[in-house]
Subunit: 118 residues, 2 copies
């Protein structure tokens, strides 16, 4: 939805949500937790703090419904989605996106990365 | 962080995060789960579906760090925060904010609603 001129200033400059949903083993869609998203979230929180990035919050989230393309991460307010598999990729996103305001294009999810039709 | 002209279109028109963090009983900051946020999240998901609101996703989130003012809910990309205590308040937000694009001003958190200094 669009912002309104009367909305308060953003509470966080960057609000990062890491999907940590866990499904039963063998579920056809898989899940982000089985791909290690909890440890990646912990690492991202710790590294953001070490790097002294201001105005950022890294949170767990329930199922973001892009399981096939996870571990799924979304950064708001800009609404940019990433697939993040390794600590090195977390570092890339912290530096390139969250410090420099750029994008890590090769890790971005695209609008065509859709869940299966219901 | 600002959006860039090359960013993909928003994946969700409205992405709602409901804090469902639970702390030990007696914690001085309290927590959203002890104020019933899990049931409110369930209700919001079900009602959004019943109302047929398109492009919305309602997710649980870990601690959003506005515990004192919760149950805390934030709606992105606009980054508007609400305190939501009852099903009636969920209905108000669904209708006024998520269907009509307005705000439920009396439930909005303000920039002065800050966590205690560390």
């Amino acid at each position: 939805m669009p912002t309104l001129p009367t909305d308060p200033a953003p509470f966080y400059q960057a609000h990062v949500f890491v999907c940590t949903n866990r499904r039963m083993d063998g579920h056809p869609r898989g899940c982000c937790a089985s791909k290690g998203s909890e440890k990646l979230r912990d690492y991202m929180k710790a590294r953001a703090k070490e790097l002294g990035i201001k105005g950022i919050r890294v949170n767990s989230a329930g199922c973001l419904d892009r399981c096939e393309f996870g571990p799924a991460v979304v950064i708001y307010p800009e609404g940019v989605w990433y697939k993040v598999n390794t600590r090195e990729e977390v570092d890339e996103i912290l530096h390139r996106h969250l410090i420099e305001g750029g994008r890590v294009e090769n890790l971005m999810l695209q609008p065509t990365d859709l869940p299966p039709k219901k």
